[in-house]
Symmetry: C2
DNA sequence: ATATATAATTAAAACGATTTAGCTATATGT
DNA sequence: ACATATAGCTAAATCGTTTTAATTATATAT
């Protein structure tokens, strides 16, 4: 009720009997530059601390155009991968004196567009974006507008826009090669219907490994809806198991892996006896499964931290057009779902 | 690069040849109140649309003290419960024309304090807070300062602060009664070492049910570290199984349930043959477990939506001191981990 | 004809910080 | 002694909005 207003620069200035300019200068560490007397400077520091002054960031922003706010656009904050990524981004941001505003796009172009506008309107200094299908033009325009951006998880190779991402090709290459090494030949892949590079590269990594192993004829890719994958996954797996006699399945995201496990469970298909599995991203579901799941691990901490670092450099140094490209190597974690074939 | 500056009120005003005041008035729907001419009002609307004007929210906030920003303090955004809650809050916020800034406290008082200060500094209009142990004074002061707050997931019964939460007593009551009904008598509980009401109420619900069933002598509560629960859970379960001959375990959070499943897995204890289980919150881990886990379901969507609704009402109507209390009923979802005892 | 009401609009202050240009007093150079 | 340099500080503009009080012109009442 007794809504005490915060102490302002003016309050501090009045308390000492000087101008707000002087206080501002001293507190911004420009005392020398503006040749403020040493004793005066000291006094300002002391009094403003005593009065518990902290600058009004809104006012500072209005004047200077900086909010120390980072906008984060993910596809869904409740997706474990993105909530983990968000946590890392948050921590790194705090470390660098930023705070995160976020929004979820649901892989939808319009949502992405609206969200970005809202975040810019709130005055974010820069954006970390997980771009969705069809957002290339949007991102390009943003970059042209001079907005500091870093793409995360996926990117547009043709754009001059910085990104931090997994080596997606390597990811499925690792998975596929592992299965080949274990003696499987009828290896299939389940991936989203999306033209984003994370999906297409994962497909390429699989195809390439199969071809190099002389298994080009066995390439079998099922593509499922990005928005509502479950029914498609069910259909795909049923077909793979019953028609294609697939020996092993590579899933290209965590969500797909989990839908797959549900489906195989329902079909009473035993892992790994009836089919071998390589999942994506790990998690308790994989480790607590009756047959712990082999998976591709994404070093999401690095991916997320690099994104923040790049963005903050852009913001601070105005490196708007420097294209920083971070591609992190995946790791294969071998468990029980992909044993040597007898 | 060609950082085009946004069109301002002034730009629109100049284009028409009127004052910024007039434009502002019309765009805020106060034309009638200020008796602006109908033709003029129409023209302003038209031109500002043509020029693609959108207000600078920072400036607006500096003047009016509103940012349309909601601060969210959770304990950990990467915890599935809180990431799900965040997603709901985000959606509800957008619907009401707000955006969410968030931070994670890690159940730490100092972090919570710092975070709240940061968020207030960024000018949030109000806060949704998951309070941690020892934060009662902090929250009370905030309320006294006149900051709109709603607590989520946990609350302080003695404070005049609004909250939205699960009926925690009912939750463990449901779980315990279910196990009793199924014929178990040696029922134990695993809970955090925390004095927050969500934990203490869950303990009370269990104790009450046990006593009412004449099983007071069998009450067996293991309390584990909030910060690093894993080793404590392991010790607790080992003791419960080997020493106390427990027949059934009720877990009081999702994280504890999962740690418990890992431990039981390692100990080769079979569920439900060796021990029955009731978990908390559900999730793929429970459903895909070899013996799908019975659990208490928290209607997190309602809990989260109510929190936003209450907060926005506070912000808009200045209902700072109206204490809204929302307590949502849990549901028991019975699966295979708690069968009738033979 | 004079006072008063009403309609339509605007000037200017305010929010709280930063920064540029300028002011005053003392010190230095010649 | 006089111009100039320097040190130390301040006035005022600025960012983009909202709002209060004021202004002008016209209409109505007496």
């Amino acid at each position: 009720m007794a809504k005490e207003k915060k102490v302002s620069l003016k309050d501090v200035a009045n308390a000492i009997g000087v101008s707000t300019a002087l206080v501002s200068i001293v507190l911004n560490g420009k005392a020398k530059q503006y040749r403020i007397g040493d004793d005066m400077a000291e006094k300002v520091l002391k009094v403003s601390k005593e009065m518990n002054y902290s600058p009004n960031l809104i006012a500072r922003n209005l004047r200077g155009g900086k909010t120390q706010l980072i906008g984060l656009v993910v596809t869904d904050i409740s997706n474990p991968f993105f909530s983990s990524v968000s946590r890392v981004i948050e921590n790194k941001a705090i470390e660098l004196n930023y705070t995160v505003i976020f929004g979820s796009s649901d892989e939808n172009l319009n949502n992405t567009k609206n969200l970005i506008e809202v975040l810019l309107n709130k005055g974010v200094d820069g954006l970390i974006i997980v771009p969705c299908d069809g957002s290339e033009k949007l991102i390009e325009k943003l970059q042209e507008r001079g907005v500091p951006i870093v793409l995360l998880d996926r990117y547009f190779p043709n754009l001059n826009v910085s990104f931090s991402s997994l080596d997606n090709f390597k990811a499925t290459e690792l998975a596929t090669q592992h299965l080949i090494d274990q003696g499987y030949t009828r290896i299939s892949l389940i991936a989203y219907k999306s033209e984003m590079n994370n999906v297409t590269d994962r497909i390429l990594g699989y195809e390439d490994s199969m071809k190099k192993a002389g298994l080009g004829a066995n390439i079998n890719i099922k593509r499922v809806s990005l928005i509502n994958p479950k029914p498609d996954v069910n259909k795909a797996i049923e077909s793979l198991i019953n028609k294609s006699k697939t020996e092993a399945i590579v899933f290209t995201t965590n969500t797909l892996s989990i839908h797959g496990l549900y489906c195989l469970q329902d079909m009473q298909v035993t892992i790994p006896n009836d089919v071998a599995i390589v999942g994506f991203d790990g998690g308790d579901v994989f480790d607590l499964f009756y047959s712990p799941i082999t998976y591709i691990e994404q070093p999401y901490v690095q991916i997320a931290e690099e994104a923040v670092t790049i963005l903050v450099n852009k913001i601070k140094n105005g490196e708007q057009n420097k294209k920083s490209m971070v591609i992190i190597e995946p790791k294969l974690i071998v468990k029980n779902s992909s044993p040597k074939k007898d």
